[in-house]
Symmetry: C2
Subunit: 310 residues, 2 copies
């Protein structure tokens, strides 16, 4: 899908950059995942390139905060693999105990507690929460745990669809994809890394809320278009924008074009919304806007790079 994606997706007009410490952080994240038992060998995680994505999302962050984001993305990749691979993600009643145990971990907000009964994912998530807690930004910690809760609960939706071989309607998919994609916890830790976390009064501003949804859509859809063929090779995944649009139009080529058209249109809306916010709030919102720009550009560049190894 690389050449197709390249030919149809509008390139996000934001500067792309990568953190100087990418390689070192990649090694550290891999060590972390191995030490906590998330992976047996690093090969697969290396190919997924969590650090590459994180380092594009916050090219100027302090090293420890970049590392935290890179570890979160690694964790999300491992969770994704666990769902894809041993059938956990296609049986909501098998997935539920793991989800509940991970929700227990989130309820501790990074404080020590009894070991959760869900294998290495639990202690690793507890470690992430503990490290978010260290920055003493309670609003960031609460936002992070809330976003992770929504991500975990939304996985049950995916599992029910897989169990029923159900392709969700486009409108439903668009809403749920924002949660299953793990975008909001990732944006939260990037806001932390770049000191761009918007205060509550801004986040409840209708324009701000709209911008966050637009950014999340762009990140998820870009990923969907780039990864479609790859996912398709191992059996079509219902949870891809191309799939749900193809099901609605009855035609894969039309679905692919419709997905690209949605991305391009959403990018236009994003740029307008961003200008309006800047005009209204001025420099105060720049760090938070940078987080979102970085993520949109990062997903695009990382998807291109990841394709090389696909």
């Amino acid at each position: 899908m690389r050449s197709f994606a390249l030919s149809v997706l509008r390139e996000p007009p934001f500067t792309g950059a990568q953190h100087d410490d990418t390689e070192a952080v990649a090694r550290e994240s891999e060590d972390w995942a191995q030490r906590l038992g998330l992976i047996n060998n690093g090969q697969r995680l290396r190919r997924a390139d969590a650090a590459g994505l994180a380092s594009r999302a916050c090219p100027q962050a302090p090293r420890d905060r970049l590392r935290l984001l890179s570890d979160l993305i690694s964790w999300l990749f491992v969770m994704d693999d666990a769902c894809d691979e041993d059938g956990l993600g296609s049986d909501p009643t098998r997935l539920a105990p793991t989800v509940a145990a991970l929700l227990d971990v989130l309820d501790r907000h990074g404080e020590p507690g009894a070991a959760p009964a869900c294998g290495p994912l639990g202690p690793a998530l507890a470690d992430l929460c503990r490290r978010v807690r260290v920055y003493r930004r309670p609003a960031v910690l609460l936002r992070f745990t809330a976003a992770m809760r929504e991500y975990l609960l939304a996985l049950l939706w995916e599992a029910a669809n897989r169990e029923h071989d159900r392709v969700p309607p486009v409108h439903e998919y668009v809403q749920m994809r924002r949660h299953t994609g793990g975008v909001f916890p990732s944006l939260t830790l990037t806001d932390l890394a770049l000191d761009g976390f918007p205060p509550a009064e801004r986040r409840a501003d209708p324009q701000w809320a709209a911008l966050d949804l637009l950014a999340a859509n762009l990140i998820c859809w870009c990923n969907d278009v780039f990864s479609y063929r790859k996912e398709h090779r191992t059996g079509p995944d219902a949870h891809n924008l191309v799939t749900v649009l193809s099901a609605e139009t009855g035609d894969e080529t039309a679905g692919m074009r419709a997905a690209a058209a949605r991305f391009n249109h959403e990018l236009g809306t994003y740029l307008t919304t961003e200008s309006d916010l800047l005009a209204q709030h001025g420099e105060a919102v720049r760090p938070a806007l940078a987080t979102r720009r970085n993520w949109i550009r990062a997903t695009y560049d990382w998807s291109l790079a990841a394709e090389r190894y696909a």
Copy 2:
């Protein structure tokens, strides 16, 4: 279960009271539900007595804020009925479009938008969000929408269990019940009503987080013990503390006693945690503690009263 519940549950040692405007608010909430098409006639909602629960939860609140809570509880009762009755709640793939449409409503944070495709529940939820927005407390609004999102997503877990006739393990049930019970959105609007909303730095405090979980457990479990027989008459519901404990012990009487013992033990822990918080933070936390005390006592008294009509 009334006499059993009365004989085994420790009475919450908090003063119970009811708002002077209960009856008027009950009529207004019923009118609201009827005007928005949530109900055809008020009889059933009247029996459920949303206003009675709300007015016990905030006996000293300004009338408009009590009304907002009463309308939210009415909305939750109607959603609950919709799930119970026409099979929506026992088929995750049928429930998912409604959940997604309601999540769309929450994403607007009370701003006007296109009519959601989920019947009267959508516009009614939009109305609730709009009215929370009016108080210009963005942190409260964000907390409310986040708590509602978790509630809605957790309904998909219930639906998957019902579809599979699955009784969840106790540990999983305890975690998920806090979300499916709609406790957190209700606490949030009660904090708003009593001006007790704790700031982020307090809510991420480990003791505070613990208190919130304890309060939510007490509210849910009290409701479970009182309603067990009633639910049991129309076929056992897997989503009741007595059911999950009975399944684990293999014995209904043991399950009932174990549920009561859990409640009583949790109440003791709650009282200790509350004292510690008061000693540490002083008068500043009193309004937020009152919200939680009120809710625990309100659930107990309301369950007793509701039983009279059961």
